[in-house]
Amino acid sequence: MKIVACIKYSLTLSELKVDPATRELRLATTPQRVGTIDRNVLEAAVVLKPEGSTVHGLTLAPAGAREAFREAIAMGLDDLTIVDSTNWAAGGPMATAAVLAAAIQKMGDVDLVVCGEASDDGVTYQVPPRLAERLGWPLLAYARNIALAGATLTADRDLDIGMQSVACDLPLVLTVTQETNTPRRPTLMDAVKAKKKPVVVWQPEADLGLSAEALQAAGGVTRIAQEGIVIARKEQLFQGDDMKALANQLLDALLAEHVVAE
């Protein structure tokens, strides 16, 4: 059985700052890394993997970022395919899904694709359903308590209103949430072995036969403006060992703000 884990080189949003004067998002200086949700993706793929199966990492990312995927590989991938986005002028979930689908088809005989419910930075929730549609497979989203018996996967789908227990035959696209599992921490030995795992780089145009222009046009969505959101708060910190004093300090502040009355 062949499992593909789709992982994303993402912006570290906790470090994304907004310029207070210009409201510009400081994207260029925000560090990037393989996302936290991707660790759940990798864990799910590796745990599901039956004896004799292989797990392949797949990402649309700049080839120059390959070092950032070390830990991901060490979590248990057999190899990693990077579809190089360096000179790829198409953005958005539609184009991403097209690239991932083409890569999965090129890999051949894939039975299961695992994605995150949403990427750390994109958070569009669009890539997995679009990918499933392109592949013509069912999408089993927000899965928890995943079990694989033969070619049938069962899981509980964590929907906002409750759980939905489902069963579905492979092939399919699965998405996981941060609640799905607890990702492992690779050991030094895992990391040493991972060094020997192959990293393949494909070009979307040359290797997958895709055209950025065509996809961008078909996607039909163009960004025309961007603005950071600045919310100013007072950020006053009260500390000390005397809880009674702290409580009264807070009440004084709330009274002064007129949100409560005495």
Partner: protein, 323 residues
């Protein structure tokens, strides 16, 4: 003929989207505000949507749609859109709405955006402009969508439902063939509805993973009670510990109370987006470097187990109330 279509499997969210659609219909030149009702049961009561602002209710009265399944719902919604040919489709960005939204967009080759909180349609250029939250709410992007229909996933709580007394809707049954789903639904367990309306509470006590045991909620409830408030929580408290059916944040509710007191919440942006419209935010956290402090008006660097009882005590002694 520029039609606007609303879809959400959650009736409350559909009402919110309809209210907005009705409000802008005149100014943006929509000739029709439609809503989609899927399943035999929904079709039977379809006419009620008129009062919530719909001109037309498009029904697919297949019994197969009485149980939610993303595959059958995708087929139904895609089928309705193909036949109705709207220029804008507002989709409720619940987890169910999002999985259907992406799939329908791909099937129809439609332009789609997520986390939309404002939009406008320009008949002259045949394009839609949508303002969307990006990076989990750190920024706003404005998009132009020129492959129509434009599917815009709108989070719950962005717009507010409104009754349009006397407005009535035509009900049109749309014939859509629903293929058998490959993913089989074995069981649905729906979280018990508490009937709470957190949206109306003037004070929210927002509990995070810093609260260790369910029994400890009593402390939060008491605090909320003294201030005429309600207790809400972060996603893990709901999805992992199951203490409450709903949570606050990106994928949950967004509230704007007069006062929000967080207890043991770390301050991840996915959560704080649900409380950042509060007039005043107080944060209690035992970690001096917790990110929540930078997003709060008043931070209390303390163990909530020590501080909250002291606060309750002080509120009682000083007879502090919330009007």
């Amino acid at each position: 003929m520029a039609k606007l279509l609303v879809y959400s499997e959650e009736a409350g969210v559909a009402r919110e989207l309809l209210a907005k659609a009705r409000q802008v219909a005149g100014t943006q030149g929509f000739t029709e505000v439609g809503v989609v009702a899927l399943g035999a049961a929904a079709a039977a009561t379809a006419a009620i949507w008129g009062e919530w602002g719909a001109d037309v209710v498009y029904t697919v009265a297949e019994p197969a749609l009485d149980v939610y399944n993303p595959e059958t719902y995708t087929a139904a919604l895609a089928g309705v859109i193909e036949q109705v040919q709207p220029v804008v489709v507002l989709v409720g960005a619940t987890k169910r709405g999002l999985e259907v939204n992406g799939r329908v967009a791909e099937r129809l080759g439609a332009g789609a955006v997520s986390w939309c909180d404002d939009f406008s349609y320009d008949a002259a250029s045949q394009s839609v402009t949508a303002k969307c939250l990006v990076y989990t709410g750190i920024g706003n992007n404005t998009y132009r969508i020129n492959v129509l229909p434009a599917l815009a996933a709108v989070p719950p709580g962005v717009f507010h439902e409104q009754a349009f007394a006397g407005h009535s809707a035509a009900v049109i049954a749309v014939p859509v063939a629903i293929p058998a789903a490959r993913m089989r639904v074995l069981a649905n367990s729906v979280k018990a509805d508490t009937g709470r309306r957190l949206q109306d509470a003037p004070v929210i006590v927002d509990v995070g993973q810093g609260m260790r045991n369910r029994e400890d909620l009593a402390m939060a409830e008491e605090l909320a009670g003294l201030l005429n408030g309600q207790v809400a929580c972060s996603r893990p408290i709901s999805s992992e510990r199951d203490w409450f059916p709903e949570w606050l944040g990106l994928s949950g509710l967004k509230l704007s109370p007069d006062l929000c007191i967080t207890l043991g919440v770390s301050g991840s942006i996915q959560h704080t987006i649900g409380i950042r419209e509060s007039k005043l935010i107080v944060a209690v956290n035992s970690d001096e470097n917790a990110g929540i402090f930078a997003q709060a008006d008043y931070g209390i660097h303390a163990d909530l187990y020590q501080f909250v009882p002291a606060l309750i005590e002080a509120i009682k002694t000083r007879s502090v109330t919330k009007k």
